[in-house]
């Protein structure tokens, strides 16, 4: 391959040069911006992923310099390699846009659309995809396929109804862990992510299936229902971990660490660590270190301004200095109302970050009792 020249490829009228063997999707990603096709199943860090969801369909209007015929059908750009002189149409082709809307409709056929309940909402690839490329309604009139939700081990929650069968978690388990304990059982409409029979997923790196899952099918049980993604504040942090790179993203509310994930890049994929290796993180880092003392905080994560996660976060805001004390000769300012004395939300009596799974009514009842005792004293 080394002696082969770079291939010239034109995507949406932008020409770039890529090494031979590059897929159209990766070439488009090199250009970046809107012309990169969306991908639900392709994950550049996982070998053999891609080719299943069809969201990355593009039109090849000219096969190559040597054979300038267009490809007869839309092709999956994550699986099609570029040829020299190839011309690709992505967002400039009405055919592609229509086909993609159809793919979104297809993916949403069995999706429960329970985004208000789902923990993935706000960082969900399927949400972004259907918002950007889908149509408003569905034509599906039949009952949706349903499964019982259940847990895979102590830390991973599986909602099979939300799954789009992208196989990313299967590849992740294959390539990160020694033995894969889960996979896709049954065929066609019945196929589902499952362990055989009811096993716990307890490998050290199995937590990464949560990060690779593009939808809310595999979610973190320690974060379950604790808070919405966009109300927590992402912070980059690291620790000395013997098992993994230890470079993570903490999702915090105040000083509480609600969730820990690997750091993701602009394509929603796990970023490489600073030593150049892949940034997978181990289960210990992900689930058991919910304390800021365990971590060295680097900086606040830069969030894309278009993302909902950037809302209500005032990065770079300048707080005006308090001058009252100076003016009043050292008399401290007295607030008419300290909201923390009145509000029952985010109370010190209930530490959501220390509760193992999701909070239940009993957790809040205990907190209520504690508060009443305090008030009596």
């Amino acid at each position: 391959m080394a002696d082969q020249e770079n291939f010239k490829v034109t995507i949406d009228n932008i020409t770039t040069e890529v090494p031979a063997g590059t897929t159209i999707l990766n070439a488009a990603r090199q250009i970046g911006g809107d012309i990169a096709p969306p991908a639900m199943c392709y994950y550049s860090k996982l070998q053999n992923s891609g080719g299943k969801c069809r969201t990355c369909l593009v039109e090849v209007s000219k096969g190559s310099d040597k054979d300038s015929r267009p490809m007869p059908k839309l092709v999956a750009s994550c699986r099609t390699t570029v040829m020299d002189g190839m011309e690709v149409k992505n967002i400039t082709s009405p055919k592609v846009i229509e086909a993609r809307a159809g793919v979104v409709e297809m993916l949403l056929i069995n999706h429960p659309l329970d985004c208000p309940v789902c923990d993935q909402a706000g960082e969900c690839d399927l949400q972004d995809l259907s918002f950007n490329h889908g149509k408003g309604g569905t034509r599906y009139e039949f009952e949706r396929r349903t499964f019982e939700k259940h847990t895979l081990g102590n830390h991973i929650q599986l909602h099979m109804t939300r799954c789009i069968l992208c196989y990313r978690c299967v590849f992740a388990a294959d390539q990160l862990t020694n033995t894969r304990q889960h996979g896709i059982l049954d065929r066609g409409d019945h196929s589902q992510i499952e362990t055989y029979i009811e096993k716990n997923l307890d490998n050290d790196f199995i937590g990464n299936v949560i990060d690779v899952c593009p939808v809310g099918a595999l979610t973190d049980r320690t974060f379950r229902f604790k808070n919405r993604v966009w109300f927590t504040k992402p912070v980059d942090a690291h620790r000395n971990c013997p098992k993994c790179c230890g470079e993570v993203r903490l999702w915090m509310r105040g000083d509480e660490v609600f969730r820990i994930t690997a750091r993701k890049d602009e394509w929603g994929e796990i970023r490489n660590a600073s030593d150049g290796k892949m940034g997978w993180i181990c289960n210990e880092c992900r689930f058991e270190k919910k304390d800021t003392n365990d971590w060295v905080v680097e900086n606040t994560t830069k969030v894309n301004r278009q993302s909902v996660i950037a809302s209500n976060k005032y990065i770079g805001a300048i707080k005006p200095p308090e001058f009252m004390e100076e003016v009043m000769d050292g008399v401290k300012q007295r607030y008419m109302l300290d909201i923390h004395n009145v509000s029952e939300v985010n109370e010190p009596e209930i530490r959501l970050d220390l509760i193992e799974g999701p909070a239940h009514s009993e957790n809040f009842e205990i907190a209520d009792e504690k508060r009443e005792e305090k008030e009596l004293q």
Partner: protein, 185 residues
């Protein structure tokens, strides 16, 4: 003098006649206007015995709705808090346990839900954002209070009465609504 509109009238500076200078006639004219207003329809209302009807799009104090079976509709998705320009809404979610299906509609529910009425600007974005038809702006004012603590409304303050367990309160609230509807018509 050049005028812009040709409607300007020069001020009359003639000396007053005798009848004008005793003012009686002008006073009588003014009193006739006052007398006429005695017999007109009154524009004032005897509040609080009488109330003025609200417009159908009036945005008053929020309520949290229940479904037909009396279960709380709110699933603590946080979209109202996200939409709120005044950042008045906060909440904490919890998972529904087996046996609580009669209390909460979805598998997740709002264990704590607070609206800071001192911040709320009654824009109605929360109602618009709600995907579960859980929050509505009602047709009443937020009542006044003597201290600021009373303006932090928690979930119990906002929830409508349960038709199953609190039928009397529910009937009362419904009656109030019927009354206000009648006033409107």
């Amino acid at each position: 003098m050049i005028t812009l509109t040709n409607r300007a009238k020069p001020v009359d500076r003639k000396p007053m006649t005798f009848i004008e200078s005793i003012y009686l006639w002008n006073i009588f004219k003014g009193m006739m206007i006052t007398l006429k207003h005695f017999f007109r329809k009154k524009v004032t209302l005897q509040y609080p015995e009488q109330t003025r009807p609200f417009s159908p799009v009036f945005r008053g104090v929020q309520i949290l709705n229940r479904d037909e079976e009396g279960r709380e509709r709110c699933t603590a998705c946080g979209l109202c808090a996200l939409a709120c320009p005044a950042e008045a809404i906060t909440m904490e979610a919890a998972e529904r346990m087996p046996g609580e299906e009669t209390l909460y509609r979805e598998e997740k529910y709002a264990a704590k839900y607070e609206i800071n009425m001192l911040r709320c600007i009654f824009c109605g974005f929360c109602e618009e954002a709600c995907p579960k038809d859980a929050i509505y702006l009602s047709e009443t004012f937020a009542p006044s209070a003597y201290n600021r603590q009373n303006f932090i409304y928690n979930k119990q303050d906002l929830l409508i009465p349960d038709p199953e367990t609190q039928p009397e309160q529910f009937a009362e609230a419904k009656g109030l609504r019927e009354k206000s509807k009648k006033n409107n018509n």
